[in-house]
Amino acid sequence: MTKAHIQASRTPAEIVEMPASARVVPISQGRKPMVEISKLYKSYGPIEVLKGCDLVVERGEVVVICGPSGSGKSTLIKCVNGLERFDRGALAVDGVAVGDRASDMTSLRARIGMVFQHFELYPHLTVLQNICLAQVHVLKRSKVEAQAKARALLARVGLPDKEGAYPAQLSGGQQQRVAIARALAMDPVAMLFDEPTSALDPEMIGEVLAVMLELARDGMTMIVVTHEMGFARKAADRVVFMDKGAIVETASTQQFFDEPRAERAKLFLSRILSQ
């Protein structure tokens, strides 16, 4: 209901034109945006990889980030949960200032799910143990409660019979679905995806995107770095295009595909879509 509501309530152009503070997204009910990034700068040594990025992600919104390799997409989303430090600017998630010494980053990270390109399941643990580990040790849930949650999520991602398997015994697509279940087990307020399908064989991409699409429809706040434009069309509220450490275009999904304004985004799109 929420997604349809957002999209029906105003035209895509309005979303882009309106300043973030003026937007009234029904689901947020006047609360702060989920993610607020402003003027973010970061360098690795002499190389500046983020050059003043601004991005606001509302609660329940799905934002797809795309752009050429090395443009800083991974760096940007790693800054969101504090896996990477930034040099200047401000970043708040769910009202908590990231990078501030006073902020409890550990409990913030526990509330932000992250899915990686190479899955990063723990190879020495079974699927069930993978999904229970942080639930038990970070959220201090009982083993019984954690396992019940894990089993429910395994059913949701379509792997109810794999709880005893080790990651190496699963296909890439199955591993990534377990990784999504592992992140969801923490009851995250937002999910970050860093190229979740780019390490997968083509025939497995669909099964992972289907799980993500369902998640988007359920109203999860998501930031997804991906070049899967089909997914962007179906699931994203907005598309962000990055190039050389800067966000060069932010547009509603429809506008991004129909009439991209930035030249570099046009070029990028024509290349991606012609593949």
Partner: protein, 239 residues
Amino acid sequence: MNYSWNWSILIQPPYLGWLASGLELTLVISISAWILALIAGTLVGVVGTLPHRIPRMLAATYVDMFRNIPLLLQLFLWFFVVPELLPSRWGFWLKRDLPFPELWTSMLALGLFTSARVAVQVGSGITAVSSGQRMAAVASGMSPAQTYRLVLLPQAFRIVLPPLTSDFLTVFKNSALALTIGVFELTAQSRQIESFTFQGFEAFTAATIVYLVIALLVTFFMRTLERRVALPDTMGAAS
């Protein structure tokens, strides 16, 4: 050569008892030293992989010190020099009141010497675990201690179990050096039997065989452990 063999002295009292008590001390020193080495070595190995520079430097210094000073010299330093350097009350306690000072010293010296080797193994094991694993653990809200305990170390130990076996074996061989500060372990007892009975060949053969049996048992134990913690790692094993 006019040597009269007499294997039976090995089972005669008191010589059999000497061998047995030597074996007991060898086992006690070696196993305690190994436990100390595992604990201290794991700690130092972990510190050596922390993201900050100063703890990493401290760990590197520890390893260099304990690995590069000869074990014999370390034994002498702990036994003869350290008690003199300590505040006099502690020094007196070490020299006069501590029972079996040579035993404690050899456990400590051998343990710390070996811990430097363990630290290098554990450190390289942690480094061999992909950086994405650490990132996944941290991203899920784990503390640094949890990240090491639950994610990095279990993988690192599986990687370095085979090379650790050889360090474990070396501890038993190195424990013979304890005789230089007066511990009557296996090698010292066989020397003593030689000097009492002039049956050196028999005594040293017995000690050699005991060391070999220890090595075989340790190897068997470690291989069993390796097999027990091995992960199924092929797609084929799934069905």
